[in-house]
Amino acid sequence: MGHTVLVCDDAIFMRTMITDILTQAGYDVIGEAETGAQAVEKYRQLKPDLVTMDIVMPDMGGIEAVREICKDSPEAKILMCSAMGQQALVVEAIQAGAKDFVVKPFQPSRVLEAVQRLLG
C-alpha cells in the first residue's frame, strides 16, 4: 500500500497534474479539495499521510488552511505548491506549519523528491 495523499488546488489543471505525478509514482491520492475550507474538512475526514497545498484558493487560502489543520494535527505533513514570486507567502506558510514547498511550474522529479523527503 502506498502512502495516502490529499491534493488541494483550485485549478483542475493543477490537481490533475499533481495527481498524475503522484499516482504514477505509486502514491494513493485519496482526495482532492478546491478551496481551503474543503482542504481542512477533507483532512479531518481522510487523515492522509501527506497534503499538497496551493496558496491562492477561494474561500480560505492555503496558508489559512495550513494553520487550521496544524491546530488539531501539528504532525500533518503539508507540502506547499506556490507560484513564482510568492516566496514571502511560502515563509508564512512554513511558519504556519507547512513542512516544505515546491515552486510552480514544477518538474515531476522535484515534486516526488519533496514528497519522498517528507514521508521519509
Partner: protein, 530 residues
C-alpha cells in the same frame, strides 16, 4: 506527461476563467468600489499563469503574471481602479484569449510585449514587493466570503464530444424510422401480439428519442455570455451609453441551433447599438435617459424558443424606408406605409439601408437579409415590432431542435417531397397558360417542381383540376417566389437524416427523410431554387 490531455484541460479551464474575467470586469466597471471581484479576478489570472507555465507557454504566463501584478497593486490600495486600469485588464483578457485560442489551434502563442509593458507600467514600483501581499490577501479573501464560485466542473456532469452525440441522434433517427415502419405493418394485424410489441417499442423509442434530444440541449447562456462584453465595447466605440439586460439565460436549445445563432444575434445587437439607439445627447433632447437599454431575452413556449432583441431607441422610420424602397423601385410610390411584416420584408432586401452614412460598426447594409436567411434555414421565423421614438424589437421564433422538422408534403409524378414549414408563406393555384404564378395581382418568380426534378410534361392531368395546379408560395429572406407542384399532401413531422453530400447533389436538396411507409423522400431547400 500526457501533453494532449493537459492541453485540453488548460483550454477548457482557461476559457472558463477568461469568460468569468469578462463578467467580473463588467461588474467591477459598474461598481468600482467593490472588492470581491478583485480577489476572484486575481485567482483567475493566477490560475491561468500556473497552468500555462506548466505547459511552457511563456507568452501566456507572462501576460497573466502582468495582469495579476496589476490586481495585486489594486488589492493593496496602491492603484486606483480607474477606467485606464480596467481597460488595460480588459485588453489583457483579450490578449490571453488570443494566446489560448492559438494553443487551441495547435500554434505557439505570440508574446505581446507592448501589452505587458503597459500593464507593468500601471504597477507602482514599490508595490511590486511580495512581502506586503499576505496580510491584504487574507483580509480580502475573508471579505470575499461566500461570493466566490468554486472552480472546476460542476459536480455530476460530464462533457461529451458533440460528434458522439450527433452519432447518437443519427442512430435514434434511424430507429424512429424503423419503428414507424414496424407500426404501419403492425397496424394490419389489430389485436395481434405483433401489434402489442410494436406499441411497446414505439413508446420506448419515443422515450429514447426525447432523452437523446435533451442531451443535446444547451442553455442559451453559452452564446449569450459573450454579448455583455461586446455591447460594452460597442458603446465605447460609438460614444453611446448602453446597458444590456440579459434574461432567460437558462432556456435551452439544441446545440446546433444555438451555435448557428451567434452570428445573427451579434448582427442584431450591433444594429440595435449602432442604428437603434440614439446618442446620449439626442436621447436627453427627446426626454429619455441618456443611457440606452438593449434587451436580449429567451423564452420557451412549447416546441418553440423565442429570442427577443429589443432596444429603446429611435425606432424604424416607416416613411424613410418607404422612400428608399420607392427610390429603388421596390414598391409603388403610392403604396401605403408598410406594416410590420412588409417593413421586415423591405429591410431584408439586400442593399436597402436606412442610413446614408457608412458605419464602421455595422457597415452600410443592416444585414437583415442575412439574419432572416439564417433564421429560416434553422426552420424558424422572424418578427419585427417598431414604434417611432420608442424602440425596435426583433423576435426570433426558433424550433427547439433541428432533428425533427415540421414540413408540408407535396407530390410530383408520384414522388413525395418535404418543404420545411419555416419557408412557407401560403398556398395558391397556378393556371395553365401563364408562365408565372400571380398572387393578389403580383407576379412571382416561379419554378415548376416537375422541371426541377427532371420530369417532363406539366402534370396537368395528375392534379385534381384540369389546367390548374397547386403552388406553394415560398418566403426566402423577405422575397417571395412560387413553386408549382402536382398535389399538396398535408403536413407531417419528418425526422431529418444526415446526407453524406455526394458531389453533384443539387443545391435544392436540403436533406432526406424516410416516411412512415418506408419510402424515402427528399427535403427541399427552396431558397436554392430562386
Amino acid at each position: 506527461m500526457d501533453l494532449a490531455r493537459y492541453t485540453a484541460l488548460f483550454l477548457s479551464d482557461s476559457r472558463d476563467h477568461l469568460q468569468r474575467c469578462n463578467e467580473l470586469l463588467l461588474a467591477w466597471e459598474r461598481a468600482p468600489g467593490a472588492t470581491a471581484p478583485v480577489a476572484e479576478l486575481f485567482r483567475a489570472f493566477h490560475s491561468i499563469k500556473g497552468s500555462s507555465a506548466a505547459l511552457s507557454l511563456e507568452p501566456v504566463s507572462e501576460l497573466a503574471h502582468a495582469a495579476e501584478q496589476v490586481l495585486g497593486a489594486v488589492r493593496q490600495g496602491a492603484l486606483t481602479p480607474s477606467t485606464d486600469v480596467l481597460n488595460a485588464l480588459f485588453t489583457a483578457v483579450d490578449g490571453l484569449a488570443t494566446g489560448v485560442e492559438a494553443v487551441g489551434r495547435g500554434e505557439p502563442p505570440e508574446g505581446d510585449s507592448a501589452l505587458i509593458a503597459l500593464l507593468c507600467g500601471l504597477v507602482p514600483p514599490e508595490q511590486g514587493r511580495p512581502a506586503e501581499v499576505p496580510v491584504v490577501e487574507r483580509r480580502l479573501q475573508a471579505r470575499a466570503g461566500t461570493e466566490t464560485v468554486p472552480a472546476g466542473l460542476p459536480a455530476r456532469q460530464v462533457r461529451v464530444d458533440l460528434e458522439r452525440l450527433d452519432a447518437l441522434v443519427h442512430a435514434v433517427g434511424e430507429l424512429v424510422v424503423a419503428r414507424n415502419r414496424l407500426a404501419s405493418i403492425a397496424d394490419r394485424e389489430i389485436g395481434s401480439e405483433l401489434e402489442q410489441v410494436s406499441g411497446r417499442i414505439s413508446a420506448l423509442v419515443g422515450g429514447l428519442q426525447s432523452g437523446v434530444f435533451r442531451a443535446r440541449m444547451a442553455p442559451v447562456d453559452e452564446v449569450f455570455d459573450r454579448f455583455p462584453r461586446m455591447v460594452r465595447d460597442l458603446g465605447r466605440e460609438l460614444g453611446k451609453e448602453i446597458r444590456l439586460e440579459v434574461q432567460g439565460t437558462e432556456i435551452e436549445l439544441d446545440r446546433s441551433v444555438l451555435d448557428a445563432l451567434t452570428e445573427p444575434l451579434t448582427h442584431l445587437l450591433r444594429n440595435a447599438a449602432d442604428h437603434g439607439l440614439e446618442t446620449p445627447d439626442e436621447r436627453a433632447a427627446a426626454g429619455k435617459q441618456r443611457e440606452g437599454t438593449v434587451r436580449l431575452r429567451a423564452e420557451r413556449r412549447r416546441d418553440e424558443v423565442t429570442v427577443v432583441v429589443s432596444d429603446d431607441g429611435r425606432g424604424i422610420d416607416r416613411s424613410t424606408v418607404r422612400e428608399k424602397a420607392v427610390a429603388r423601385g421596390l414598391i409603388d410610390p403610392n403604396a401605403p406605409l408598410p406594416d410590420a411584416t412588409a417593413l421586415l420584408r423591405l429591410l431584408a432586401h439586400p442593399g436597402l439601408t436606412t442610413r446614408s452614412k457608412v458605419s464602421a460598426v455595422s457597415g452600410r447594409g443592416v444585414g437583415i437579409d442575412a439574419v432572416l436567411a439564417r433564421i429560416r434555414s434553422l426552420g424558424g421565423r422572424m418578427e419585427l415590432k417598431t414604434v417611432a421614438g420608442r424602440g425596435t424589437t426583433f423576435l426570433l421564433h426558433l424550433p427547439v431542435t433541428r432533428a425533427i422538422v415540421r414540413a408540408l408534403m407535396v407530390g410530383v409524378g408520384g414522388e413525395r417531397y418535404a418543404i420545411p414549414f419555416g419557408m412557407l408563406a401560403e398556398a395558391t393555384v397556378h393556371e395553365a397558360p401563364e408562365s408565372e404564378v400571380t398572387l393578389r395581382g403580383e407576379p412571382l418568380p416561379t419554378a415548376d417542381l416537375r422541371q426541377v426534378v427532371g420530369l417532363s410534361g406539366d402534370g396537368g392531368d395528375s392534379g385534381p383540376l384540369i389546367g390548374k395546379r397547386p403552388a406553394v408560395v415560398i418566403d426566402t429572406g423577405g422575397r417571395r417566389s412560387a413553386l408549382i407542384v402536382d398535389i399538396l399532401l398535408g403536413q407531417q413531422d419528418v425526422v431529418v437524416q444526415q446526407l453524406a453530400q455526394p458531389a453533384g447533389l443539387p443545391g435544392w436538396v436540403g436533406g432526406a427523410t424516410i416516411l412512415p411507409d418506408g419510402a424515402p423522400a427528399l427535403i427541399l431547400d427552396p431558397a436554392a431554387l430562386f
